[in-house]
Amino acid sequence: MSCDLRVRIGPLELANPVGVASGTFGYGAEYEELVDLDALGAIYTKAVTKAPRPGNAVPRIVETPAGMLNSIGLANPGLEAFVDRKLPELRKLRAAVFVNVAGSSEDEYLEVVERIEAAAGPWAQPGSGAARSGVDGYEINVSCPNVRHGGLAFGTDPAQVERLTAAIRARTARALVVKLTPNVADVSPIARAAETGGADAVSLINTLVGMVIDVRRRRPALAMGTGGLSGPAVRPVGVACVHKAARAVKIPVIGLGGITCADDALQYLLAGASAVQVGTGTFVDPRTAAEVLAGVQAWMEAQGVARVEDIRGMLLA
């Protein structure tokens, strides 16, 4: 049996459900010697902000039990450098590309999207034969715990999320994904706000706020104090959030958080996700995304499931 692995996100059709998460895969090229980029369902870029950001003071990462904290601080070369230097590279990719967008005000988000829309030009379905524009969609990061202003603040207030989503929606016909934070009592209202604002999908989870203290030095291990917790440790939180979000909205949900194997990804898909992303798992083993896809396919074949999009309805109560 050959399974149908395609996943629809708004106008966009992903070749398969397994993408690589923002901030963990650079702009793709960094991993090209180790990973077959063409086999990925989607690449979510490192966040792009209006101005260049050197990132937070160091150290920025520390390991935790079955996880890690990061406080990269959205380090990125900024909008203009992205357009000049990264966009041409992204055009060479076959996989769908989501540009992850962050800002500290609504205007900053809009400026990034407007500029990229102008620079990327018209969009065509990946694989359609038409020239690649370098950008197939946006993933709006309203949930980064590592920036002082904006970020998490946006992501915990449904009204702001809806307004920001609607404003971006008005500016692009490309696939629009809003990335949610788990640092709330309930993700449902935020997911619904994104849906009402016109998002084509929501993705979750971003990292959980966490802290490690270096007892020997009597200082936080990270220069910024707190960081974002990711990796297998948070997977149960991610699956619970996706399960909840998938019951709150009708648009597709993209699940991530701690995926390191096919079983993890299947948990997200059964919880209601239409697609998944591998983040920290790539650090642990760059082959993770490929192995996840192979494992999902093998499971579908063994279970007799024809379309990957059907898995989300298969959880028994």
Binding site: G23, T24, F25, G26, E30, Y31, E33, L34, K46, A51, R53, P54, G55, N56, A57, V58, P59, R60, I61, V62, E63, P65, A66, G67, M68, N70, I72, G73, A75, V147, R148, R216, R217, R218, R219, P220, A223, M224, G225, G231, P232, T260, T280, T282, F283, V284, D285, P286, R287
Partner: protein
Amino acid sequence: MRQFQARIIANRPVAEAWRELVLEWEAEPPEPGQFLTLRVSPRLDPLLRRPFAFSGFSPADPAGGAPATASAVYQVRGSATALLAEIAPGNFLDAIGPLGKPFPLPAAGETALLAGGGIGLGPVLFLARRLRALAAAGQGSPEPRLLLGFRNAASLPELDLPEGSLLCTDDGSAGFRGTPTAKLAADAALAELGHRARLYACGPAAMLAGLAALAKERGWRASLSAEQWMACGVGACMGCALPRADGQGYLRACADGPVFEGGEIDWAAEAARAAPPVKAGAAPRPAQGPAGAGPGKERT
């Protein structure tokens, strides 16, 4: 760079808590200064891969006998290295390498000064052997000078050290009493060399900061190998940042380094960050930006 299952040829103790790991090497030959990352357990704690500098490389025997091997010298410090120490030869390790920028070779006629501090000796040994081989083949510069620093005579590793290596110990129990930095600073002849000398070093942050300052004073060019916690090891995550000396942000230890020129990195800031703790019973130090000066202010 490649990812492959590397067969362990040897994993033997060479000093208290130090071991030498030898792997069958199936990827491109590594250069001195480059590193590899290893996943030491299929379980999820410890989670991240661990970086280790190459301490040597032997190409495959063209006669078809021995395979190519690469080695690293490592210190058992925490969870991952403790697990690594338990894995017997014959088993396989998930390896990625070679990674990072190697030491740039000295220009013709340049005298290479090599300094290794503690477990930082690995890449410096590798470079020393390479330079000696080049010198022996008549392709290189003057014989390199190699200084290795240890705590004391008891901590000297059982490793084949190149002839002429100068040992330094903190307590003078073997070789020169003091650090490689002190020894280099005390040598008037070296001071004369100015830009005809080039310093190569790997060791604790404080040593690198001291050597960077000395090199600047002496007019030596310096290539120093830095360490920073790494997540991806390939330049994708921005986790392994080191503060630039010019205050213009950060460089990545894994992809822009691990070898940097003396003037590139704010070595002093890095050394301050890794500094030993103040005794807690004493009055707490006044609060200050965690990374000390310069780079702490880069937050946006």
